[in-house]
């Protein structure tokens, strides 16, 4: 069965309902970072470059909650009994998360630009677009990785690791420029994002390939 718009729309609607407060948190955090970027001694490009990577990693982690909840309720088994492969289900959930993330970041960036402009700080629109471009590959690959690993390894220690990664991602754009200055240009950030995306896609694909027909079984029996 091919992925349909109706399925994607339904999954976006469902995911948006499940992540609740995070639906506001994603654009709000993005807006604040954009707004504050004008107040720091380093260039807004550095802040946007660093934030685009950090935010993509942080926001991807948000979706593990909705997945974990479905597993906890046992609904995951019902979803696996639908007429498509488990990889299709993973892609559907990843795409739904991706749509919410990109919309949230876009909305947050625009609000952030307006707020910055209102405060007399001009951030070029090209910087914002570059920020979104930097985030995009990471948002997709990291969300896919987070969903896959949440389905395969839901446990307390794994949740602790995710929280730790989230914290590191949160503090990087706040503290790295303060101590290291203009460490990252937009170009370098885009390359870094692509490298991390490829790096994170390799284990995801290897897991799926190695499990083969046992993918549904492994996610079900954890």
């Amino acid at each position: 069965m091919k992925l349909t718009w109706a399925q994607l729309r339904e999954e976006v609607k469902y995911t948006a309902k499940q992540i609740g407060f995070n639906l506001i948190w994603i654009p709000w955090t993005t807006a604040v970072i954009y707004w504050l970027s004008g107040w720091t001694p380093v260039s807004s490009e550095t802040i946007v470059a660093l934030s685009s990577i950090s935010l993509a990693i942080m926001f991807s982690l948000v979706f593990s909650g909705a997945i974990f909840r479905e597993k906890l309720l046992g609904i995951h088994e019902l979803l696996l009994s639908l007429p498509f492969s488990p990889t299709h289900l993973l892609l559907l959930k990843t795409l739904a998360g991706f749509v919410i993330e990109v919309t949230g970041i876009l909305l947050g960036s625009l609000i952030g630009l307006l707020l910055a402009d209102y405060s007399g700080i001009h951030i070029p629109l090209t910087v914002m677009v570059s920020g979104l471009l930097i985030s995009t590959p990471l948002l997709f690959t990291f969300t896919f990785f987070v969903i896959l690993t949440t389905l395969l390894f839901s446990s307390t220690w794994f949740n602790a690791v995710k929280i730790a990664i989230g914290f590191v991602a949160f503090f990087v754009p706040l503290y790295v420029p303060r101590y290291f200055g203009n460490v990252l240009s937009l170009k370098l950030a885009l390359m870094l994002s692509l490298v991390i995306s490829v790096g994170i896609s390799i284990p995801s694909l290897l897991i799926i390939k190695s499990l083969g027909d046992h993918l549904a079984e492994r996610t079900l029996l954890v």
Partner: protein, 159 residues
Amino acid sequence: MIVLEDVRKTIGGREILRGVSLTVKPGKIHAYLGHNGAGKTTTFRLVLGLLSPDSGKVEVLGSNPLKNPKIRAKIGYLPEYDLLYPNFSVWDNLRRYALLKGVYDENELRDLLEFFKLTEYSKKKVSALSSGTRRRVAMARAFLGGPEVLIPRRADERP
């Protein structure tokens, strides 16, 4: 038609199914009984293509449900537990499942609600329903899309 031939399945080092063979012909109703831990759930999961057998053959309507997941569109599954979204309404639960299954038809959904005497509850959240009503919702969900094969778990539970 469901066919299992000499199916073996081991999970976590424990042999759950040892050479299970069965045939369910079209138009027939079969009961699959066994004590706790006998492997009923594992058998149903194999029939749905959620597990892969260590050896043997599993076929539903002439296809292996693991290799050809599309065949699951013709299977109605009523799990042991209702597995409904508690914070969603009855309508939203059914609608979501039908959309994901690719069988959404608003008229059919209304008919099913009526058949299972759920019309008055359609806008109510599942968490506010009695266990019997929740079971009826799960039953209605199993009938979405007019399945050719129905697998009701715990069919003895009367709502």
